[in-house]
């Protein structure tokens, strides 16, 4: 047996009274791809944080290349050859794409402080070499054309890719990826899957992968370690783990069976009243036309899906409807009201709620306070209590954590909170931006079941979702966007088998 690159030995991390990680052990061999999976809040990200020095584990040993690293400062661990990406993207937002990557080469740079201060020729040569290397890495992820753009202006999927490029700039021997496929559709995830293997071969590194997309996990991982509530529940090859009863129950749910997850009936014969009507809406970012004249309609009691590849303009559309972005032109009517004259903060009062991409949790407020913020416009105490009960019923984990600060929740828990918060005001129209993002497979099932229930109770839903099959299974109707335009729309049942839906995605991906 070859010597392990990374050994995690009975590592434990306790926050206050909560054992987030309760004695986990595993080891990663050089050049292997190792998966760490488990339900939301299992402690996966916390393990990453212990390995990379964000936290000092409360007990246990971590060894990298034979040297103990637990408790060392994060930059020293990065220097030693452990690079990572973050579940909640952490880019240097106002800096350019290229600069983001260059930062990670700073420590390897051979130019001294005085070289930089005096801008010597030595410095210039070093900088040129650095830039060349950074551009090569960006090219792997097809980001070289955007090198000079602001990192925060990239679409979500590209931001994830940029984080990987930045991590690679450290010349790591071990790459930790925390949900790299979150927010990617299946075509993009497939590309990513190939890229992970290619990176391992090209850069001669080992990959430790946390991911909820089972297609990716089962496709690339050679070994798996499954956690639940801080404990190990299974380990072994994907084949072994996949059929492990505990894993099926706690984590996978129905995802191993392959759909078709059709939960809804088609639209009724006599259409209900129009709740939301969008007419030729256009949105620009600076000179870039992000939404180029979208028209759509959502009727009472419907669940309508808005589909499309990364950067197609779905999030922009939702934000523009909620008046969070200025319109270039067009009109939106909500319950007969012209939204052009409305400001964003008045919309919840009208009955519109948005669970935004990136969640926008108030990090320093408790879970309970975050939920209460969702009912800010509701003065009826009984209604607030009902909302709270519903949130806890839908996501029992939130009920256990009502006084925890929102910012310390796991990624999936934050997603639950964002959805629950949007529901608090019992809106007439609920707009969800990728509710399944970062959510474990079992819980995705539960969320879609819950959506169906909520809809039957009379709520109207406009849904943006990368998981096309899931979304088309739950929706009555759908619109497919490509580069800011509606290219296809109709009954979800018809679109399910329409090959054009797939090609709408493929046309856009970084294949």
């Amino acid at each position: 047996m070859t010597e392990a690159l990374l050994t995690v030995d009975r590592v434990e991390m306790v926050f206050g009274g909560l054992r987030a990680v309760g004695g986990v052990s595993f080891s990663v061999k050089p050049r292997s791809i190792f998966g760490l999976i488990g339900p939301n809040g299992a402690g996966k990200t916390t393990v990453f944080n212990c390995i990379t020095g964000v936290y000092t584990p409360t007990a246990g040993e971590i060894t990298f290349q034979g040297r103990p690293i637990a408790g060392k400062p994060a930059y020293a661990i990065a220097d030693a050859g452990v690079a990572r990406t973050f579940q909640n993207i952490r880019l240097f937002g106002t800096m350019s794409v290229l600069e983001n990557v260059l930062v990670a080469n700073h420590r390897a740079s051979k130019a001294s402080f005085f070289d930089a201060l005096l801008r010597t020729r030595h410095y210039d040569a070093d900088e040129a070499a650095m830039r060349e290397k950074a551009m090569e890495l960006l090219a792997i992820f097809k980001l070289d054309d955007q090198a000079e753009e602001r990192a925060s202006s990239l679409p979500y999927g590209d931001q994830r890719r940029l984080e990987i490029a930045r991590a690679l700039m450290l010349n790591p021997k071990l790459l930790l990826l925390d949900e790299p496929a979150a927010g990617m559709n299946s075509a993009e995830a497939q590309v990513l899957q190939k890229q992970i293997v290619a990176l391992r071969d090209r850069f001669d590194l080992a990959v430790l992968l946390v991911e909820h997309n089972m297609q990716v996990v089962m496709g690339v991982c050679e070994d798996l370690h499954v956690m639940d509530r801080g404990e190990t529940i299974a380990e072994g090859t994907p084949a072994v783990v996949q059929s492990h009863p505990k894993v099926l129950e706690a984590y996978l749910g129905s995802s191993v069976r392959s759909g078709p997850w059709v939960t809804t009936e088609p639209s009724p014969e006599t259409p209900a009243e129009v709740v939301l009507k969008v007419d030729d809406l256009r949105v620009n970012y600076g000179g870039i036309k992000a939404v180029k004249g979208i028209s759509l309609e959502v009727r009472r009691g419907e669940l309508v899906a808005l589909l499309g590849a990364n950067g197609a303009g779905k999030t922009t559309t939702l934000k523009a409807i909620a008046r969070l972005l200025p319109w270039a032109s067009g009109a939106v009517q909500f319950l007969g009201e012209d939204l052009a004259k409305r400001e964003a903060h008045t919309l919840p009062g009208l009955g519109m709620a948005l669970s935004p991409e990136g969640r926008a949790i108030f990090p320093n407020l408790s879970v309970r306070e975050n939920l209460e913020m969702g009912a800010f416009t509701v003065s009826d105490r009984a209604k607030v209590a009902r909302g709270m009960a519903r949130a806890v019923g839908l996501f029992p984990r939130l009920g256990e954590r009502l006084s925890q600060a929102g910012g310390t929740l796991s990624g999936g828990e934050q997603q639950m909170l964002a959805i629950a918060r949007a529901l608090m005001s019992e809106p007439r129209l609920l707009m969800l931006d990728e509710p399944s993002l970062g959510i474990a497979p079992v819980l995705v099932d539960q969320i879609f079941e819950a959506l169906e229930k909520i809809r039957k109770e009379g709520m109207t839903v406009l849904l943006v979702e990368q998981n096309t099959r899931r979304a088309l299974g739950a929706a009555q109707r759908a619109y497919v966007l490509v580069t800011g335009e509606v290219v296809l729309s109709g009954e979800a049942a018809d679109l399910r088998d329409d090959p054009r839906v797939q090609s709408a995605y493929l046309g856009e991906t970084h294949a």
Binding site: V54, Y75, D79, V103, H106, R107, N284
Partner: protein, 327 residues
């Protein structure tokens, strides 16, 4: 080689300026130019900490005081021995001493407080600025609140306008190099996200202290030149380095746009010129600042230039008037 030539050229120009200025410009104009140069140094230095690195210091007048006193003491000691003909040598040594002393103070203040996140630095630097001022007031050999030097003595007025402008050019060019180098990127990364910066291999605490120390040194240098300013009073007193002075510096960089070096330069010049123009209303300057900042927040909350630098394309865009609107 080419770089060395460029520097020689700049030096030549400054020397020529130093000698020609007296003949061509009025005393008043020279005075205002010297003040502008001083402010540029102060603003550019503070911008490295508050703009680029995203920390918040509100006590930089303290470093200016340390530099000014250390420089003045040095030149006072040397001047008698070297004489006026070696004045430039005395001044250069005084500059080095002042910058060094301010740098040491920077490490002493920065190392403990930059370890902590958040607003501690603001509180510590605020305290530091006041402590320095009050300590000087109570130290007899420094002249206490009467100022330095004591009696009929005066600080030699070696820093003519060429020196002042030279100091501003030196500080601006060096810090421009630093800001737009690999080191500057590391500092900006700290401003954007400390955890991600650490994960990218940047020792964030060490680099914050580094930036803070460099900034303190540049501020100290400005202090030395201020003390020796030929158009000044050849005398320094603690009241000249009070909180007002720190607020002046903050206003300069906020006006120009936090994080923009050319913004800091413009902000420094703006504050110098407007303080001069409103000389009779000096007492109301805090009110004027408040109005200015409120106006700025309403019209251009990111400051004059935001985080961008002044560039030819930016100027071009201003010229043909407004392009079509839209967001």
């Amino acid at each position: 080689m080419r770089r060395a030539l460029v520097w020689m050229g700049v030096l030549g120009l400054l020397v020529a300026f130093q000698f020609a200025a007296g003949a061509v410009l009025s005393e008043y104009v020279i005075r205002v130019v010297s003040m502008c140069a001083l402010n540029v140094m102060l603003a550019v230095a503070l911008n490295l900490v508050n703009g680029t690195t995203g920390q918040f210091s509100i006590g930089h007048a303290g470093f200016m005081a340390v530099g000014a006193y250390a420089g003045a003491i040095t030149s006072h000691a040397l001047d008698g021995r070297l004489g006026a003909s070696l004045g430039p040598v005395t001044l250069v040594i005084a500059c080095a001493a002042g910058a060094l002393a301010a740098g040491v103070a920077g490490v002493l203040v920065g190392a403990p407080s930059l370890r902590l996140r958040g607003d501690y630095l603001a509180i510590v630097t605020l305290g530091f600025g006041e402590i320095i001022r009050i300590s000087i007031e109570s130290i007899g050999v420094l002249g206490g609140s009467q100022g330095y030097p004591m009696g009929a003595d005066s600080i030699p007025p070696y820093a003519g306008v060429g020196w002042m402008v030279g100091g501003a050019v030196l500080v601006t060019v060096l810090l421009w190099h630093l800001t737009y180098s690999s080191y500057g990127r590391a500092l900006s990364a700290i401003r954007e996200d400390e955890i991600a910066a650490e994960a990218a291999g940047i020792p964030t605490t060490r680099y914050k202290v580094l930036a803070f120390t460099v900034s303190a040194m540049a501020t100290g240098l400005a202090g030395v030149l201020f003390a020796h300013d030929a158009t000044g009073g050849q005398h320094i007193d603690p009241a000249g380095f009070n909180l007002n002075r720190s607020v002046d510096m903050l206003v300069m960089i906020i006006f120009g746009g936090l994080g923009s070096l050319s913004g800091a330069v413009l902000g420094g010049i703006f504050v110098a010129v407007s303080l001069e123009a409103l000389r009779e209303f000096q007492g109301y300057r805090l009110i004027a600042y408040a109005l200015l900042l409120v106006g700025l927040m309403l019209l251009r909350p990111q400051g004059l230039l935001g985080t961008r630098e002044l560039s030819v394309s930016m100027l071009k865009r201003l010229v043909p008037g407004r392009r079509e609107g839209g967001a």
